[in-house]
């Protein structure tokens, strides 16, 4: 088993405890996390990425329990083994496309994919030295996917990656995530409320508000 989350529970201060569905994934497998707005989907993604510590339960990636890791060890593990795609691409505006990807190599302390090669694979070969401010929305989202893939992670987490994209770009982004995850043998989890995504990823779990 490459990825496994069991019995996850978390409570925001002053709010009821949220309980999350279990997930198990083999290399190359994909899973959707569905749910209405405010149901706790993003909280679940933060727990799976080790950005929040669960009140109960465990998250295991490649046999390592994220909940038992602390501080720098967890930061480094996340940098190396988990690629996160956010709802908004939010690239670092002070850096160009290539430098945004180089940051993932630097903080992950991992020599992953050759950046030029990765950008070419994602159809961004000519944009390597462009300012991220000059990219279209679709291009910016592809760069953020490239950043998540730069270290050949074992787990790819995508938080509403298509919510602001049109149908054509949604298709492209989902295909890209699936093919790249399959190519590097990573588990892919997409958190979304976008029903268009269901057609591409049949496996899903649903988060329900308490």
């Amino acid at each position: 088993m490459l990825f496994e989350s069991r019995g996850l529970k978390y409570s925001h201060p002053g709010q009821q405890t949220l309980a999350f569905p279990d997930i198990t994934l083999q290399p190359g497998e994909s899973m959707l996390v569905l749910g209405k707005s405010g149901s706790g989907k993003t909280t679940m993604l933060n727990l799976l990425a080790g950005l929040l510590k669960p009140d109960a339960g465990e998250v295991k990636l490649d046999g390592q329990n994220l909940a038992s890791m602390k501080g720098q060890e967890l930061d480094l593990f996340r940098g190396k083994e988990i690629g996160i795609v956010f709802q908004s691409p939010h690239l670092l505006a002070a850096l160009n496309v290539k430098e945004n990807l180089q940051m993932a190599h630097f903080f992950g302390k991992k020599k992953g994919k050759e950046i030029e090669q990765l950008l070419t694979e994602l159809g961004l070969g000519s944009k390597a030295k462009s300012s991220v401010l000059t990219l279209s929305e679709g291009e910016a989202q592809r760069v953020s996917i490239a950043r998540a893939l730069a270290n050949n992670p074992k787990l790819i987490l995508a938080d509403e990656p298509t919510s602001s994209l049109d149908d054509e770009n949604t298709e492209k982004v989902l295909e890209l995530l699936k093919t790249q995850a399959a190519k590097i043998g990573a588990a892919l989890i997409i958190v979304t409320h976008d029903r268009r995504v269901r057609a591409h990823v049949p496996n899903f779990v649903e988060v329900k508000a308490a």
Binding site: T42, T43, N46, A49, L51, L52, G71, Q72, D75, L76, R78, G79, K80, I84, F86, Q87, S88, H90, L92, A93, A94, L95, E99, Q102, M103, A104, H105, F106, F107, G108, K109, R147, D159
Partner: protein, 417 residues
């Protein structure tokens, strides 16, 4: 890519804010640099120019003015003293050596000093070319004068009355250059040396009239050899401007000034005493300027703090993203500290360069004063402390923003966005 590069990219991404902060800090540090350079060199120059002179004697007036005009040639003389009284003083057993000086003329602002050969010997001056004067109206140029006037041995020029530029020329007698001194970095560089007799004859109205009537051969009218040691020989009562005295023994320091000040029509002033008084007075101004510089540096430190803090507000999501891709809290802390340190390091380097540039501008505007002999591009060890001082400002200005970055909650920021 590394943290240095990332910090640099963030700084250059906000060029106006970065530039203004660096410039403000640089201004404060430039003032400190100029003060350091002037203080260090000015004091050394002043002490160097007064070395070997125990007492300066001249007409009664301000003792500081007497020292400034007689030793450093930067103020007006207090007046003249009768030579017979000066000669009487030279016979005192407490006096080891006495150098007479006659002042009052200039050439394009460079002072013409009538004296004997003991004066260049006092400063261990060496000739770059030619020889020292032996007859009236022969002059030896200081190195700076030679460079600025472009005169060489054999050239002739007319002196002007007074000690500032723009006064009327003595068109009766021409000075002839017979030697040029080597550059020593002292007061001699800016002087034109000649015999006391040359100054007397130039001011001698009769002599000038005679010279005007017979311009065929002016030098031959005063063919006698000038005094190269001691006092000139004269049959008529003559005046001098200043006497530079060396004591025979330490007792002289106690007795001689009192004797001159109370028993003669002259005034005696000690260069070391007057200069320490001057430095004390200047010290107040320097302290004030240093205070002003510290205030400017404080303001620039505050500016850097505000710039970092505000940029942090805009970059909270950036920092969360960095954490999400593997950056540790410590790395974010370091990132902000590096930005503060880079800003202040740039400010320090620019400040030091600006300080040296300011000084070279000041020097170019005051070529004939003591300031004119300062070296603007000498770097002092103390300037390293300016860099350290600036870096401390950088650390202090970054502490709060850096800890705010350290505290960044990734999940909270990413959820907000």
């Amino acid at each position: 890519m590394n943290l240095f590069k990332l910090s640099w990219k963030y700084l250059t991404f906000r060029p106006l804010s970065t530039g203004l902060n660096v410039f403000l800090l640089a201004l404060g540090l430039a003032i400190i640099t100029v003060l350091l350079l002037i203080q260090d060199q000015f004091e050394k120059k002043m002490n160097q120019d007064a070395a070997g002179i125990d007492l300066v004697v001249g007409a009664k007036g301000s003792p500081l003015q007497l020292i400034l005009s007689g030793v450093y040639h930067i103020d007006f003389p207090t007046g003249n003293i009768p030579m017979d009284e000066a000669q009487k003083l030279s016979r005192n057993r407490l006096v080891k050596n006495i150098i007479p000086m006659a002042l009052g003329d200039n050439y394009q602002g460079f002072r013409i000093v009538g004296t004997n050969h003991d004066y260049p010997t006092l400063y261990e001056a060496k000739l770059q070319s030619g020889e020292l004067w032996t007859t009236p109206f022969e002059v030896v140029l200081g190195a700076e004068v030679a460079v600025k006037s472009r005169y060489k041995v054999g050239d002739e020029f007319l002196g002007s009355h007074g000690i500032s530029v723009g006064s009327h020329e003595h068109d009766g007698n021409k000075f002839k250059v017979v030697g040029v001194l080597e550059r020593k970095g002292n007061v001699l560089d800016r002087l034109i040396l000649t015999s006391v007799e040359s100054i007397w004859y130039t001011h001698d109205e009769v002599a000038e009239l005679e010279a005007a009537d017979s311009t065929a051969n002016q030098e031959e009218q005063h063919v006698e050899r000038v005094a190269i040691k001691g006092f000139p020989i004269t049959t008529v009562p003559r005046d001098l401007t200043t006497l530079l005295i060396q004591y025979r023994n330490p007792m002289a320091a106690i007795q001689l000034p009192r004797l001159i000040n109370s028993g003669t029509s002259m005034q005696a002033a000690s260069p070391s005493f007057e200069m320490s008084r001057l430095f004390e007075l200047l010290g107040v101004g320097i302290t004030l300027l240093q205070g002003l510089a510290v205030v400017i540096i404080g303001i620039s430190g505050l500016g850097i703090f505000i710039a970092l803090y505000n940029s942090l507000k805009e970059r909270k999501y950036d920092l969360a993203i960095l954490r999400a891709i593997g950056a540790s809290r410590g790395q974010l802390l370091l990132l902000i500290f590096l930005e503060g340190l880079m800003l202040t390091f740039l400010g320090a380097i620019l400040g030091i360069l600006l300080g040296h540039t300011f000084l070279s501008v000041i020097i170019s505007q005051n070529e004939q004063g003591v300031i004119g002999s300062l070296q603007p591009w000498i770097f002092l060890k103390q300037e390293l402390w300016i860099v350290v001082y600036a870096l401390v400002v950088g650390v202090l200005a970054s502490v709060i923003p850096a800890f705010a970055a350290y505290q960044t909650s990734i999940a909270k920021q990413l959820t907000k966005a």
